[in-house]
Symmetry: C2
Amino acid sequence: MKTALAFLLAARRCEIDDLERLALSCELVQAVSELVHQLQRERGASNVFLASDGARFGAQREAQLDASRAAEAEVRAWLDRPELGGERAGASVLGGARLFTRIALALHALDALPEVRADVAAQRCRPDAATARYSEIVGALLALVFDAADVAVDPEVSRLLVALFNLMQGKEFAGQERALGAASFAAGHPAADAVQAIQYLVEAQSQCFRRFEAFCGVEVLRQWQALQSIMPLAELERLRRVLLASGPGAPLDSARAEGWFACCSQRLDQLHEVEVALARGLGEACARKIAATRDEARNQASLLQALSAASEPRAPLEMLMGGELADEAVPARTAPGAERVEAPGAEPLGPRLGRSIVDLLHAQSQRLQAMSDELDAARAALEERKLIERAKGLLMSCRGLSEDEAYRLLRQTAMSQGRRLAEVAGATLALADVLARP
Amino acid sequence: MKTALAFLLAARRCEIDDLERLALSCELVQAVSELVHQLQRERGASNVFLASDGARFGAQREAQLDASRAAEAEVRAWLDRPELGGERAGASVLGGARLFTRIALALHALDALPEVRADVAAQRCRPDAATARYSEIVGALLALVFDAADVAVDPEVSRLLVALFNLMQGKEFAGQERALGAASFAAGHPAADAVQAIQYLVEAQSQCFRRFEAFCGVEVLRQWQALQSIMPLAELERLRRVLLASGPGAPLDSARAEGWFACCSQRLDQLHEVEVALARGLGEACARKIAATRDEARNQASLLQALSAASEPRAPLEMLMGGELADEAVPARTAPGAERVEAPGAEPLGPRLGRSIVDLLHAQSQRLQAMSDELDAARAALEERKLIERAKGLLMSCRGLSEDEAYRLLRQTAMSQGRRLAEVAGATLALADVLARP
């Protein structure tokens, strides 16, 4: 018969298990963040290559393909880990079904890469089409990071994952801004709704970076702030102003395309430096948490052992733990000693030990409660995106739109009404019944 | 190298695993609900036994002890299941650390039973003290059911668990009402704040039963409504009126104690019938879901196999699944056939199969999203209790109160201000900073 103490210790072990699975997810997130960065660079180089009819960035693009492939290989190496195969695969990651489905979607998106690259190399597609195809792949990878953040189980690590997701998402908006702006400058005039779209992307970036700042922790925040002073922000704002002031009557100077691209790229690379620091911090936070939880579990066990030795000289810790360790250490479950420990009427644990167990139980229960509250707070920062995803899903199923069409519809509505995307998504969901009507 | 398809199938397997772990939790919940019922009966019999100075219910109480012990043995048998021992214990239940901590708290509470029983047998304690000690044990068991409901992963099963928890909680309020009323009638006048407390318990019951009705499903609801017609509700309301109208100037007829007790007990037993039906439905729902998910996974695999046979005659399903099944079935990972399947540029899957995988991926992703939304909706019904638990925790840590004192303070505040307990809890939490000040 297992005792309360056995389950108290088993709960600790679960915490350690959960942290180890979280550390595994964080490794995937690190690899994915590197791959996203390389694909963003590849997208940018492909864009210039196509826009210049193959005259520029040919060599850069070739070199970039190698870097992208290396980053993809890292992600695939993670996916090939032996613990992710076989019957127990679900138990080795957090949020099994959800994360695996996201991985499947991301892998499927990545499967499109060779074809996109071939089309770019043969100059078979327009720059904006290539950008859109790369962006779809990056979107699938970002969704994976989002879900990893949403299923995380430790408040500190969750906060860092929320920060990293928002940094990556903000950087992706910056990458899309680069592409749109470069195309506009190169063409000598902004494309159809490019001005509105750039305004939206600028606003979306600042929202993401605000959330990133709220969750990234003191150290990364300091690095981020130091970086602001060397980022080409003044130049970026000047070029944005030129871009936004342009219109059918005010053509853009196409010679500025290069300056715009260089300025945006420099900023993206600097954002990536913060990303790398944050990803490293993620791994360290996991390791630190695992070590701390192991230490606490050991201290807890020693405390109980000391107390049990004091109040019951012949009761070693193994016996105290009842069924659990007894299964391994004591031949028969009904060993008289083990029985004695479990007869609470007789208080064989001794009052001090009994009291300590109660204290440990209540402390553990309150700690788990506090952790769960903090987790909820970190996850709340992910709610907006969930609203948007749900609204997209609704539009796809009720109006038969593709994912991209649904997103554009939401974004255009937000832009034209001057409302935030999440507000429009919330309003869409509130109209679910109306939309579902045939 | 693993394919998107391998992770699509792995996600399905995770869903089945999760459902199996949910089924295991449901078995615990069933055993716990039976134990709670027996302890409620034991509490009632002990109450009468002590109030009559041992003159009444002696034999009933003895018989009840056997029933209680049998129900406790069922719970302990579940806890002794081999999958709950050893290193992988955390992976065999949902919400590992949290559920195990609750189990430890419940076991610790149960450890007090022999002493309570000995005190009752020797008539060493007052009826209200015995009631309070039993209620604490029942409270720990209810908290376990609550957490099992809160960590459940299937919307349909979650709804049933939320219904069962609310039915059990409502029934426990009914049991506390029985004890308070019995003591008041027996004493010939209501105890200090018994009138207010009974008003609170009546209101709390109706809240719980409303939530139960919202989640229990059509079939149990029909049984519940049929039962209402044979429950002694008119008699109960009449006796409640007598009780609530009494005061220092209006003594109670102590001869009515028996009628009150019998009427309340009959109702509790009838509530238990619904509980049993609901618990049975829970097991059936789990089994049904597991079977359906297995079928779906099989159909999905057959569909893909059929499609792969049509578009690629020599590609069996095993090969399609890439690394995952290849590990078991194909000797070398770099088998040329397997390689071919993975080169997406060449579209070796054939357009139909490629399209099917995309459809399956999107359908699975949307289904998981819809499930998660439904789950959130079911869990929202548990939010009130979480608020109350958090407010209790805050008062305990900031004001140094015991759990019971914290609860009484919240309840008294709610009663005196005519507000709902959850409102008072919310207001308490909003004042966290003020309360935390030394």
